[in-house]
């Protein structure tokens, strides 16, 4: 496996290592959601996921129409 330092140099490589380490620590610290979700809250979060999927599909469709010379 190629070390990051050999691609970006010592200084940038160590910065990238530090950053990934910080992100890993953040992910560990917040791994478990601390709030107790009611049924309503669970439904709201499910709605949010579906809503975001819908938006991604919409943006994808817009991109497709632009690529194919549409509006």
């Amino acid at each position: 496996m190629v070390a990051i330092e050999s691609i970006f140099g010592e200084r940038i490589g160590s910065t990238i290592h530090e950053l990934t380490g910080t992100i890993t620590r953040i992910n560990k610290r917040y791994a478990t959601p601390k709030i107790k979700l009611s049924k309503g809250a669970e439904f709201a979060l499910l709605f949010l996921r579906l809503y975001l999927i819908f938006l991604v599909i919409l943006l994808g469709y817009k991109f497709w129409t632009i690529v194919h010379g549409g509006a």
């Binding site: 709030i35 009611s38 809250a41 979060l45 949010l48 943006l59 817009k62």
Partner: protein, 422 residues
């Protein structure tokens, strides 16, 4: 004698109350007035030019909408002592946390670009080149935050908020007919019938009323100001006063453009200022100064929102009460945000209109999430204790949030597909 002593007692009580308010005022007032940013002023200017005074009633309705959403951030910040980004990470886990943080930074950066567009366009009316505007603005914005005291930043920013009221004298100077304003503006009506164009304008006005950065900004500002639970009533009052000011400014912008530019299609507030300059140079000058100030306020608040949010999550020192040496990354992030957004405006032929439209689309992906998280957090007894939402709060807030989600989604879709609503 009795009258005099009563008068003196009441007088000192009022003075004391005003002093306490001035001490605790800030986050609510600033966020609400900064809500009338360059994009907001453009929307109001275009609305007034297109529909005259006819949609003033609609803006009055948006005041309570902004208040109800923003007062929740006061309670959440004062009780948890955490900003909104950290609150989302902590309550909902890292997936929703990263989603919110990254989406926020994209939306905010794009919005900052639009603020610089507004500022450079406003000062170019006076012959100031964009590069000079960008450089001076960035230096001033750096100077304001580097005092090492939240209090200093807040009071300087509040002085800039006062400049936002410049649209009031601008409207008074042109002597609009008050009876016309009351007749056309107070009674709800849909000028020309409810059509696609009117619907687009209504959606745009709602879109400018609540933006994702406002939620994150006010909560972080409440925390940085070190407001406690006992300060919540004052924080809510501050937000209430701010909501009144935001509506007043919006109405006066509409009065100016509704009087001088009625029937015109205006694409930006800078264009409005330029046209007004030909009709009434003094009012045109005031409109341009107001636009510059709006962009300035927007940019400074949004850049801080990003720094606070990243500082909270990454564990950097993240307070305006720290000196640069003590909160290095907090200030670096603030500076990088401003300088990159300002630089985009200076790129020849940069797709600025596309960026302006893209802001609306990306904001639609974050706003519903931020609002839903806000409602869930405010309903958690373990987090909020006795400050959780009451039944009345929930009825008001959930209705508002559902309406905002529907309308902002339709606004985003209509930006993507302009011919969809006719």
């Amino acid at each position: 004698m009795d009258f005099l002593s009563k008068f003196y007692f009441n007088y000192s009580r009022i003075i004391k109350t005003i002093k306490i308010y001035l001490l605790l005022a800030g986050p609510g007032l600033i966020v609400m007035i900064a809500d009338n940013d360059a994009g907001g002023i453009t929307t109001y200017a275009a609305t007034g030019a297109k529909f005259g005074y006819n949609l003033i009633w609609f803006l009055v309705l948006l005041g309570p909408v902004a208040y109800f959403v923003q007062e929740m951030t006061v309670r959440l910040g004062a009780v948890t002592k955490h900003g909104h980004a950290e609150a989302i990470f902590s309550a909902f886990g890292s997936f929703w946390g990263w989603f919110s943080l990254l989406d926020l930074s994209i939306v905010n950066w794009l919005t900052m670009v639009t603020e610089f567009v507004g500022m450079t366009a406003a000062l170019s009316i006076f012959g100031v080149s964009p590069i000079i505007t960008v450089v001076i603005v960035i230096f001033v914005m750096l100077g304001i935050v580097m005092s090492g005291r939240y209090w200093t930043w807040e009071k300087i920013t509040m002085a800039f908020c006062l400049v936002n009221l410049i649209y009031i004298p601008a409207a008074i100077i042109i002597h609009p007919s008050v009876s016309d304003i009351l007749r056309a503006g107070i009674i709800p009506n849909f000028p020309g019938g409810f059509n696609g164009e009117l619907f687009f304008f209504l959606m745009a006005n709602i879109g400018t009323t609540i933006a994702p950065w406002m939620i994150f900004f006010q909560q972080s500002a409440v925390v940085d100001k070190q407001m406690k639970e006992k300060d919540i009533p004052w924080g809510k009052f501050d937000t209430f006063i701010g909501a009144i000011f935001t509506v007043i400014v919006a109405i006066f912008v509409i009065v100016v453009t509704g009087t001088l530019l009625y029937g015109m299609n205006i694409e930006s507030a800078a264009q409005a200022a330029q046209v007004i300059m030909g009709v009434h140079p003094l009012v045109g000058t005031l409109v341009a100064i107001g636009l510059f100030d709006a962009g300035f306020l927007g940019a400074i608040c949004i850049a801080l929102t990003n720094s606070w949010a990243f500082g909270e999550v990454f564990g950097w020192a993240h307070s305006l009460n720290y000196k640069v040496k003590e909160a290095f990354w907090f200030y670096v992030y603030y500076f990088i945000g401003l300088i990159t957004a300002g630089a985009v405006v200076l790129i020849p032929n940069a797709p600025l209109i596309l960026i302006t439209l893209f802001v609306q689309v990306v904001a639609v992906t974050l706003l519903p999430a931020a609002l839903i998280f806000l409602i869930i957090l405010l309903n958690s007894e373990e987090i909020m204790g006795k400050y959780k939402n009451t039944l009345f709060d929930n009825i008001a807030n959930i209705s508002i949030v559902v309406c905002i989600i529907i309308v902002s989604t339709l606004f985003g879709i209509s930006t993507l597909f302009p011919n969809l609503f006719g």
